[in-house]
Symmetry: none
Subunit: 189 residues, 4 copies
């Protein structure tokens, strides 16, 4: 569905190398890295980048989407555990904490995501992964509210809001302090 044709083996390998290299380069040098540099780090020529991704924005979006896939999967696993009896609020705060960890370890990728802001839905892979996460989180949030652990007016959009404002580029102490401050306001009154 995502791939009309299954992509030749060598092309798939190159695509993976490009994504990996792009992730590394963005992490190391920020979303401003040049395509040329990503190409060099991938061990391919620029043209190959453009063969796989129509333009730089699309490549960056693919990197961001890939990074978010793990998050979506984490959300789904958390929901499943909650469905199987684990306290929903525990699962939810656990998910949030891990989400912030991911953000902290990928803060340049997060910055890239922010640069995409306006059209973050214009990228298919992004839309898909967001939908997955939203689906799981909606249910996890609801469960946590029903168990009286999470404030009643909390929504999935709030997760995005908190995530998007998490100080991923600051030192661990600051990140933890921020979480502490914010978490205080999340519990049910």
């Amino acid at each position: 569905m995502t791939s009309p044709r299954p992509l030749r083996a060598d092309a798939a390998r190159n695509r993976a190398r490009i994504m990996t290299a792009a992730h590394e380069q963005i992490t190391e040098h920020g979303p401003g890295v040049s395509m040329e540099q990503i190409a060099a780090a991938s061990g391919v020529a620029v043209g190959t980048l453009y063969k796989h991704f129509p333009n730089k924005t699309d490549l960056v979006a693919a990197v961001v989407a890939a990074a978010f896939t793990a998050v979506a999967e984490d959300a789904e696993a958390s929901l499943q555990r909650a469905d199987q009896g684990s306290p929903a609020i525990t699962e939810f705060t656990g998910f949030l904490t891990r989400l912030m960890d991911v953000a902290a370890h990928n803060h340049a990728v997060k910055a890239a995501a922010r640069d995409l802001h306006a059209d973050h839905d214009a990228h298919p892979a992004m839309r898909e992964v967001e939908a997955r996460a939203a689906e799981a989180l909606t249910r996890l949030v609801r469960a946590a509210q029903e168990q009286r652990g999470l404030r009643a007016d909390f929504t999935v959009d709030d997760v995005y809001l908190l995530f998007s404002t998490f100080p991923a580029d600051q030192p661990p102490a600051a990140r933890e302090r921020w979480l502490a401050l914010v978490f205080t306001g999340l519990t049910a009154s």
Copy 2:
């Protein structure tokens, strides 16, 4: 020490025009505006920009610092009102709210400040204005805590943390929601 020579009248006028124009241009077009464009908006030539500011970063830092001066003054005024009997917590949340308003109306400048991140202390004007604000805020925070309105572990650094993560570039509804979530966690337990 900060000013080896008191600056000739016309030079001072030029400097002011540059700062004003730079603020406007950054606000309108983001921190990426070219020096050429700022120069044009200032009514001077690029060379003059470089006469006043060794490089673009320094100019942007000066603009950011200037924008923060109003904030420092607001902090001082709030403190003064608290000293004269106004409830410290009211003054503090009032200050915070106005701070977020300023951020929202200058979010491109705030973005510029963020781009400076690493060395935001490397710029003298920045250090100075931060010191003024910190001085006033420290006392305001302490007062609010003594009056049992603000959580006991709150510090001035937390103000920076909250300010730096405020979603200034998002629509009003999101900004207000963020404030609501965060403020919940600030009151004394």
Copy 3:
């Protein structure tokens, strides 16, 4: 000699599809269309284009030559009608008018032909179709001259000259005006 091997059935089919697609793409997007796009429109891969035509120039030349085949056939039909009693001058001006029509409807192909200018004889197919047209036109011109309708010094080269300067890319009114101006000078004195 022109065809060392008679070309396998599927290869012949592919070649035809490529030529058709190339004609369409050139007509629609000009001679600058990329080989990739022509390949896509042909339903084959680029490699196949290069299998049939050593390089882009050769493909474009083949398209141009093919387009000229209809012209050569028109010339031959006109000559035949003249041989069978139709006034030669009528046939000749009729041919010229249709030639200009063809040019107008294929002006991007004509532009492609012009880009080839220098070596328009370097391409076998081109030489062949030109020879066919020249053969018929020489006799048609002679007949028209003998019947005193066409100026005595007119030659087949003049046909090329007029054709190559016909303003095919201009609006109909301009094309008609050009024809009117030029035709005035063609009748026998």
Copy 4:
């Protein structure tokens, strides 16, 4: 009027060198020459080209316009001679002949002009020089018609039409033949 400020001496010199080099390079390699190559031939860096001309199209248009200035002046001189008693038809055909000569010696520039086709009025310098030529030619055409030398329905637009279709890139013999054919149709009936 064309120049709000009279341009510094060194800048004017560079501008002239750029125009000269651009003319030469276009003449030698066609309108497709790269800006880099024109810059090298000018003895300046690319940035300087862009300082003087916002983009390649504008530079090419300036070269074309400059080349046409001589034509406009020729038209004006021809008109003046006609006003002073020289037969208008002689002046007109003389002008046309010289125009074709210029085109022949600058055929790559003429090709460049053709590439500009759609927006050849979008370039101020072009508009101005066209207006000058049109003014003089309108009167010269009228005079030639009143003296019964030029066909009565001839217009200035016809001059453009003939000029734009003149086979400037063909050998002298072809060019002369074309002129001969076309001129036959211009005399008054």
